[in-house]
Amino acid sequence: MALTAGQRKKTAASVLLSLPLMAFALAFIVYPLLAGGLTAFQASTIFDQSGSFNGIQNFIALFRSDGFAKSAGFTVGFSAIVVTIEMVLGFGLALLLNRTFPGKKLFFTMILLPIMVAPALLGIMFRLLLNGDIGAVPALLHGMGLSVSLFSPSSVVPLLVVLDVLQWTPFTFLIIYAGLQSFPGELLEASAMDGAGPFRSLVHVIMPVLKPVLFAAFFLRTIDALRTFDVIYVLTAGGPGTSTTTLSIYIYKAAFESGDFGKAAAAALVVLVCLIPFVPFIVKRIASTGIEAQR
């Protein structure tokens, strides 16, 4: 196959331009990935550091007790709920801010603030804020004559949902709001002229055009929600029992409390294998046009 001079130049350039990524990947991604993958098939505990291969022992150990499956179930359910709420609220908030009003700049920045608090520290801040004896929220509720115990077994999951929504709605808001800014105004005007109400415009005009943006917000949020760790770990450590144990908490405990790195790696690998089929589907919707143009 004969390449034109231009094509050849393009090829050379693409290799050169990708070099930093490839070098970095070789040095710092491929090795950890393979070493981590290898660990999943090794006896790698704090008692037995020989690193001898033990086949699928780690995977058997993983599925023998129901802890892994339970935490996977909780993680998926929790993520589905929080991401749905965050998408809806983030969208609503973006529509709300999509106009001029006094104080917009200040409030816009303020709404983004929760993203800037380290989750590990935010967990501790919540622990103070929600403490039944010294926390402001229970004191306020008490002052209003409500006796709600935020951490009782029946209210702890809704509480964690609320906290996650408080911290991460700003993130979906930011992405969607940014998308709205590039929304062609005349489209809305046209649909208004056709006599469409605000709701119809939303569903039939805004949402289809914003689809890639919504997918991007959804995807970025979902993958992070599936890894939820800090706030829940600080507040409940996965309890009572294992009722709020996320996959990340499960893996963390396997590695650092049981000292079983093989089992932890096996768990992470199973998570990856279960999620990977969804990736191309989503990526296609976020960043496809550019690649498509090459075909």
Binding site: T11, A13, M22, T100, L113, I223, V279, G290
Partner: protein, 288 residues
Amino acid sequence: MTALSTPLVPRTRRSPRNGRKWIFTIAVGLVALLVNVPLLNALLVSFKPTGEIAKNPLSLPTAPTFDHYANVLYASGYNFPQFFLNSTLIALGTVALVLLIAVPSTYAIIRLGFGGRWIINSASGLRLLPAIFFVVPFFVLFSAAGLQDTILGLIVANTFLNLPLAIILLASGLRDIPNEIEEAAAMDGASVYRTLLGIVLPMLAPTMVAVSVLVFIFTWNDYLFALVLSTSNSTPVTLGAANFVTSTGIRWGDISAASFLSTLPPLAFAVFAQRYLVSGLSAGAVKG
């Protein structure tokens, strides 16, 4: 999809009557307060003397004190100025390295067809793995490479964590820059590199700034990798603040002050870059 690729006219905003405007101010203001309750509470507690914290959670401090800030900044025996410096260096270094790696390669992938969708897919897949998976391999690798407990090491680790995000966002930003300009430049005989530097980069700049802000924030807030990969020379502020979680309880006032202070640098960075944050993330805006 076609709607996005038609050129935009500058947005015209109808200005509602004054009364209606203020309704939005109040509504949005309430949301802004609500999401910041934990931080505002931390701010309040950070000015209360230790004995007062347990007394009345809702009251303003009767005898406001700067002790907790003094503890954070110098009096506690922890070198917080150093922690802040470390965090800043790590976050800025990560932003630089991420852009250096992600911008040219994303261009190669999207515009020059290098590796195709495969690379973007695996980059996204990488972010799906729990970070814990990589913690020990990284530790082993860094110990061997002499990167353990160095600023550079944490820059590398955070670059690793944030590359997928950067590639995804840059790819969708690049997608929305019309190809015709580059094709015209190529016709005129400009090399790929000149096109990239002279034409694409300026148009991609807002996206790059937006990516920088997010990478800065996520790096600043990293905890797990810092815990394992730093010991004393490269301790960032998140880890330093956790020192107020002691074996006899949590020093609420001190950790509140530390948490509040630690949000200021990313906030400053975001405010500084706010103009581009929105336009950069709004893919189509660059065309307007």
